[in-house]
Amino acid sequence: MRGFIRRTLRTGLLLLVGGAVAFFAAGWLRTSLDRRTHPRQVVPAAEAVALAAAAIPGADLPDALARLDREVRALTSQMLALDRKLLRYRPTNPYIVVDTVANRLLVRNDGKTVREAICSTGSGKVLDDPAGGRSWTFSTPRGEFHVTNRLDNPLWRKPDWAFIEEGEPVPTRHDAVERFTEGALGEYALAFGDGYLIHGTLYTRLLGRSVTHGCVRLGPIDLKAVYDESPLRTDIFVF
């Protein structure tokens, strides 16, 4: 009998505790789900504004209105000044966008895409010079650039890393004959600073992948079209 009472009390206590825990957990869950606020508007609703207007005493209304009108005019004038400053950053038309993740090059005019091309961009790999303390990271740099030079049948002047990568001795002279290679960059190239180019490639099978040493490679047809559409100082945005 005593055992039965004890068991009953224990069961009752467990049920009570379990129920309390479930109750609080449900309350917390409900609160959390309720309070997960969907974004609220930062600008007050029309009703709130109407109430604010209604709260002003009638005698003060003309002055309050004149004051508010002056504030709105001042704000409008400040907005125009800001717009003028932002306008300085408006891009050229057309401009080029390079997506280094999807390996796509877009030519845009007035914000509309007029050409989309598959490209190859930097691999992000690192090469260390075993002899000296030099190191190169082969990424395509991000940011805003401009076409600084347009090249027809460009010649590739191999930098030191190209020799190191192939395990060949680095020529001591910068103008050594073995540094120059014809045809490696395709028929055209657009330079955009610091030695980076948009150029052609022999490795068309690898277009669409991040395999370059930082330059942007295009297939021959796209390269010709992009070259023709991009005069000097064309904006290039890389992300």
Binding site: V42, V49, R209
Partner: protein, 270 residues
């Protein structure tokens, strides 16, 4: 009292006067009040003028709020445009993430759902502080698998990309997926306790049961923060749901130091 029938008593005079007076007052009360026409018209006009003024005031007040907000957003954008590095605009009004360089949007990703919550407490969640969207943030870390740049062994690098090597076989030729395995659910931690979780999901119709389970899972399992950070250091938590592939494709574009700003619902367009 006189017995002369031609004489009236003084009380009868008084009674007669009182009666005449009462009759005059009653007749006056029955007549409509005569107010001057000018006074009556001006009180109605004053009420109407006041209503018009209040309406104009309300309109201007609403305009002022919008202008204030637009000015704030443009000031933030101007500050970010001064640098040519890409930055993020979390457009919670249009449910989009944009990568912008200067003032040019170079990449836009649509979102499926947007949620914001403030600091997490044990049995409740508080609202975020009201001015959290009035500043820019910079990215201090992102969760996900750590990446180490691959190192090229000198003497082997160029061989892999030689197209004239007949024995060269690229993964592409074998149909293997290119690129690394990218996370679809990750959290970006910005300065000052701002966190943004991107949750990549399968798009399309989901049942109420799936939605309910997802919602409960969201609450019970806080998103993973970059290593070393604790959930209660987050003041504002923005949770974004988007297509799985888009979430994965965005991940490599996000770098430490990348700056961000937010556009809230109701905000004017930039």
């Amino acid at each position: 009292m006189s017995s002369d029938p031609r004489q009236t008593s003084p009380w009868s005079h008084r009674l007669l006067g009182a009666g005449l007076l009462a009759a005059a007052v009653g007749a006056g009360a029955a007549l409509p009040p005569t107010t001057p026409p000018a006074t009556q018209g001006s009180s109605t006009a004053a009420t109407q003028d006041s209503a018009v003024l209040r309406q104009r005031y309300a309109m201007l007040l609403q305009k002022k709020f919008l202008l204030d907000r637009e000015k704030k957003l443009k000031e933030l954008q101007l500050a970010l445009a001064g640098d040519d590095a890409p930055y993020l605009l979390f457009d919670l009004a249009d449910a989009e993430i944009r990568i912008i360089i200067r003032t040019t949007a170079v990449h836009t990703i649509p979102l499926e759902r947007v949620e914001i919550e403030g600091e997490r407490r044990l049995f409740s969640a508080v609202d975020p502080p009201p001015d959290w969207a009035n500043r820019t943030y910079h990215l201090t870390g992102k969760s996900g698998p750590p990446r180490q740049a691959e190192r090229i062994v000198p003497g082997t690098g160029a061989a892999k990309t030689r197209d004239d090597n007949p024995r060269a076989v690229t993964p592409e030729m074998l149909g293997l997926p290119a690129g690394e395995d990218l996370p679809e659910r990750y959290t970006l931690l910005f300065d000052d306790g701002m966190a943004v979780t991107l949750d990549g999901v399968e798009t399309g119709e989901t049942s109420w049961l799936e939605r309910g389970i997802t919602k409960i899972t969201d609450v019970l399992t806080p998103p993973e923060l970059p290593t070393g950070d604790r959930a209660n250091s987050v003041r504002v938590w923005v949770r974004l749901r988007l297509a799985r592939e888009l979430s994965r494709s965005l991940y490599p574009s996000l770098f430490t130091g990348m700056r961000a700003m937010f556009r809230m619902p109701g905000d004017p367009r930039l």
